[in-house]
Symmetry: C2
Subunit: 376 residues, 2 copies
């Protein structure tokens, strides 16, 4: 299975509507590829908040309206922030029955919505056990950060370094939400607290945007990149049901299956995108993915190993923190970056000769995890 | 591919929450089958309004919480009222990589919701082109009924007969929303107008409920029923983009592919469930599925051909009109009925020796259509 085309919009506070964002990503993916819209046999839409925020469900039919008279199978998948890598996973299950499938992730989060955006995002958590008790996502990840910091004896400065690295990377990515913004360590340190110990720069932004990829059962160009594995796993939705907050079992399960299928190990990965919805989740991801042992991600950060010239470059596009987090598009944006890197088309932020790339995309507090591994 | 277990809840105004409804359907499907929960390798959730009405998205993780420590792939599919047959279709694409997959459709529509239920249901239509101009679903189907009635020269009494037949069937289905309710032709005729020419009895009710099926790549019991084909197709979301309102192209495309794959024709179907969200859509479905020519469904109704003892029994469970329409569960409830009939377990409403069964499940105004064909 191969990625034959990738496309995305700029991420940020955008004026375009949800269908227009999706259309732009679709067209960009087609233009990037050697296939035309008529060659697309099915479409998978990933979107999280179309209903409660934009008043628009049944998005598969909205997309059908963009390509009338075609009547192909189109469907929508929603698994919170992991929606788009789960949609890719499902497309791959179908690829033997179709030639080319497009996956589109889209989210319109800024501007007036039917429900306030923080309440809407909280729908990725447990409505009864968590939300009604005030445990919105910054609060939940604050609890996780508190446990991690106490367990491994670190202070907030390490989290600040993660935010700083992601913002530095986004300055080399013109499509990133915060491409325009020069960020200093002092700005990060002195930013207002959101939920102790997390401050503003620990949190990914609310973004609009879309991304699309075309998958195919055959390779037709040197720019087509092979998908070596795609695996998904789930876990309980409420953190009140978890034994350990400093590790996400869904990441461990999905990634070990993916490594096994791809027949490689963590040490083989040359470019990695992880789901840093909050800075603390980047630390946890590095450990759960086996890039180091428990509590050892601290050293990877301190030693500069996750920077573009380090031993395992992470979130070279700026990550969710600085590239942006338009929820339904996020997993595909990670894939967009890994494909761009594996094609050696990443410009200033290009990693040197990467051979294997991986994305880790989670929903909620690891209630869902999608792992995808690519190889040149 | 085979259906190895079916389960559902009663449909109606129920006090149970969304996860509890899903759990009840799951357990009933497991108890109906020869497999245990530990044999289930993946779960597909179908749900439409969890976000805007119940404040709960990321339902795949909610379901994971019901079976902790298993961490299997679980995902949610939403394609408006066609969600559950699309979820089944997707599960079948995956079945070569798994042994047993459970599909659960669930909807909690009554009681307090974040958004009024009529506004929430309207999210299956085009928010910009239709909803903002007042074209909620009863209004849209009223336009369709007006066109059909003028084109073929019928009056409202034919639609009343469809409602009456469905209500009569539901009196033999203890799980139906309106099982308890004796309905007369006079009650139907004199019910209040909702949107001219549609009155209250032309409209399916707002229901809570859940249904589940287990699909497998092997048959292990005489009660396991083969799936001969599952096909989905899409169309534009707004009726302002349609050339003809008296036929749904998605039904025609999906059903012709399904007949072809199953290697049978409309005349072979012995038990049929169609998506009668409004009475008029039952007429249109019969024609689009090729049970008769355009405008000829009128005769099928008038001649009693769609009753349980007729040549093509339709909606023997009461249909959406009287069995109920808990949106995310509806397509699976249709399948529940067809499987029950093909197993000859339908009691008082049993059709005589059915060999082939079919379900037609649409989203919006035919923006999505899922067709499934079964055979003994």
């Amino acid at each position: 299975m191969f990625i034959r085309g990738i496309g995305r919009t700029k991420f940020g506070v955008l004026s375009n509507s949800l269908p227009v964002l999706a259309y732009e990503a679709m067209i960009n993916a087609l233009n990037d590829s050697t296939v035309g819209i008529i060659d697309i046999d099915a479409i998978f839409i990933s979107n999280f908040l179309g209903g409660p925020v934009n008043g628009q469900l049944h998005l598969n039919s909205v997309i059908a309206s963009l390509i009338p008279e075609v009547n192909i199978p189109i469907l929508r998948i929603e698994t919170a922030c992991a929606s788009s890598s789960v949609a890719l996973n499902q497309a791959l299950h179908c690829i033997n029955n179709f030639e080319n499938i497009m996956i589109i992730g889209v989210e319109k989060m800024t501007g007036p919505g039917l429900i306030p955006i923080t309440d809407a995002i909280a729908m990725a958590g447990d409505y009864e056990a968590d939300y009604k008790n005030g445990l919105v996502f910054p609060a939940a990840y604050a609890l996780i950060a508190q446990q991690y910091m106490r367990k491994y004896g670190i202070d907030h400065s390490l989290l600040e370094e993660i935010a700083y690295l992601n913002h530095c990377n986004s300055r080399m990515n013109p499509l990133a939400h915060f491409y325009y913004k020069e960020v200093t360590r002092e700005m990060i340190r002195s930013s207002p607290i959101v939920a102790e110990p997390l401050n503003l720069f620990d949190c990914s932004p609310v973004s609009d945007g879309a991304a699309a990829v075309i998958v195919s059962n055959k390779k037709e160009s040197d720019r087509d990149i092979e998908i070596l594995s795609s695996r998904i796993a789930t876990d309980t939705i409420s953190i009140t049901q978890r034994r350990d907050l400093t590790s996400f079992k869904s990441t461990i399960v999905a990634s070990s299956k993916a490594y096994n299928e791809a027949n490689i190990g963590p040490g083989d990965i040359d470019i990695l995108e992880v789901h840093d919805c909050f800075t603390i989740s980047e630390l946890i991801a590095l450990e759960d993915l086996g890039m180091c042992g428990p509590g050892k991600a601290i050293e990877l950060i301190e030693n500069g190993e996750i920077s573009i010239n380090g031993s395992i470059p992470v979130n070279t596009d700026g990550g969710l923190k600085a590239n942006g987090h338009p929820i339904g598009a996020t997993g595909l944006a990670q894939i967009y970056e890994v494909i761009t890197q594996l094609r050696s088309e990443a410009g200033k932020r290009q990693v040197e000769n990467p051979e294997f790339g991986m994305t880790q995309n989670i929903g909620g507090i690891g209630g869902t995890c999608g792992i995808t591994i690519f190889g040149v």
